[in-house]
Symmetry: C2
Subunit: 307 residues, 2 copies
């Protein structure tokens, strides 16, 4: 059996895994992507390396240059910009290295071994710190930027780290819901969330918001519903563009499914062309935190097969 090392570098964590040819995760590790990114990458791959490893696949947030194996822009993860993945030291990095945008890699993982298996045409939206996207068309990943979090849903809307204003990501991502809650509390709004995290607002996470929403907190519910509404606006635009058969929703914020995604479904149905939206299943992604490492590993097996 051959193996690949799949690496997924997100806003806060690096995940690395040893993945076999059947795309099963054999062993995995997780470290911070905030401090010592380069050293962590080298140590993690060294630890997962073995003689049957045939290559390394890297999934990374941002705009990647596949030939040069560098990240050209990453609004949420500046420390990877310019990092030369093909030139890192360590035994693993002397093997063939493939790089892909993380959301594209997630879509590839879901397509090959997750909820996208049964669909030739689907969109994956990953609701993390930001919003990532990937488009699978006729069974293959569409090789485009697919920065689906950076479509404008409010022309005069709030500023986004990408330089635009009114991006979908600024309304329906993990960061967006946390920002909305913090602003409301700072403006004096009453909510049980102000007691969360020993009163330290800056430690509130999307998961806290979801938990308080389930306990009936009005602000928490309102913020998640509003994010869901905008997610629905984005989904409707994407359905009108791509006429997919499924929209897969992954990432941490997808845990708030019953409140946030159900609202998104309603909004998307109201907005998209009926003939298109009625054919679309809006369903959870399956691979959860493994989507990126599995997709990245599959780049290695596919890439080596082509050579």
């Amino acid at each position: 059996m051959k193996y690949a090392i799949g690496i997924d570098i997100g806003g806060t964590n690096i995940r690395a895994a040893l993945v076999d040819e059947e795309l099963r995760v054999v062993r995995k590790e997780k470290r911070s992507s905030m401090d010592g990114l380069r050293e962590n990458l080298i140590e993690m791959t060294d630890s997962l390396y073995g003689p049957e490893v045939v290559g390394v696949g890297v999934a990374v947030a941002g705009l990647v240059d596949r030939e040069e194996r560098v990240v050209k822009k990453s609004p949420n993860l500046e420390q990877v910009e310019g990092l030369d993945f093909g030139g890192l030291p360590g035994r693993a990095f002397s093997l063939p290295v493939f790089i892909e945008n993380d959301a594209n890699a997630h879509a590839l993982g879901e397509s090959k071994a997750g909820a996208g298996r049964d669909f030739r045409d689907f969109i994956l939206l990953t609701l993390g710190t930001g919003i990532g996207g990937g488009v699978v068309y006729r069974g293959r990943l569409l090789d485009v930027a697919a920065e689906l979090g950076h479509i404008t849903v409010e022309t005069g809307g709030v500023s986004c780290p990408c330089g635009n204003s009114g991006c979908l990501e600024s309304y329906a991502s993990g960061r967006a819901v946390v920002n909305a809650v913090v602003s409301e509390i700072e403006a004096g709004r009453e909510t049980m969330l102000s007691e969360c995290c020993d009163g330290n607002l800056y430690r509130i996470t999307p998961l806290h918001i979801f938990e308080y929403a389930l306990e009936g907190d009005n602000l928490a519910r309102e913020v998640l519903k509003n994010a869901g509404r905008y997610l629905g606006v984005g989904i409707a635009s994407l359905v009108n563009i791509f006429s997919p058969r499924a929209v897969l929703i992954g990432g941490g914020l997808a845990n708030a499914w019953d409140i946030l995604v159900e609202e998104a479904k309603r909004e998307a149905r109201r907005r998209a062309f009926d003939e298109l939206i009625e054919k679309v299943e809006i369903i959870p992604a399956e691979l959860s935190d493994d989507a990126g490492v599995v997709g990245a590993a599959s780049l290695v097996f596919d890439g080596l097969m082509k050579q």
Copy 2:
């Protein structure tokens, strides 16, 4: 030499043409698509028919079913909904008939014989009564709905005939600029345009608005610039999604290039990822009114070659 009959059915006119294998337009006709659509189609194809004609290609506004050769939904052209193009009488319609969304056909025409010739990845936006779109990816038309006029740019925006609110088309199409001018005049705004068309506001066209803008009319300039700004918002989203090398702009409203499209370029540059937009040429479509008939005819030659 073989010939195909290309037909392009838009919001107000049907264009039909005899097109040779080199995609040159040999002869063409134009009639209304508002009254007697079915009869006009039959008479026009009869008149263009000859023994060297090998098939008919139809480009039509709306959501088409290529297999069934019917239009499933057409917000701007309800009279074509349900019309069975494969079953129309007449010698031409007994030949193989191919059907495609008009904006997709325009993109195909531009790709094969127009401004898209030099680009493997481009988007065509046709600014007519509404806004049509087509996406060419790696030299081939992407076989998706590509309803690029129906992406949401203002979540709480104005209602669109498609059922959504805040669609790009409601801000940057021919109909949108006319509506904006008429509303302003009805609200008492002073403008030279109120003397246009013998004072009959409902006869104002986008071309009038452009002419008055060139003469320095403030309202006309303001409305075209505002439409351009929204067009730029839409282009930025599409660039962030598709990372194309060109955006081709066609349709009647593209005549207002120096005011409207130049504003769109500025806005798109402000909003899209720098690394993507700097690679994009925003240029006029070339085939003008022939894009649809040429694209439709090319469907016939390509379709027959595949059979």
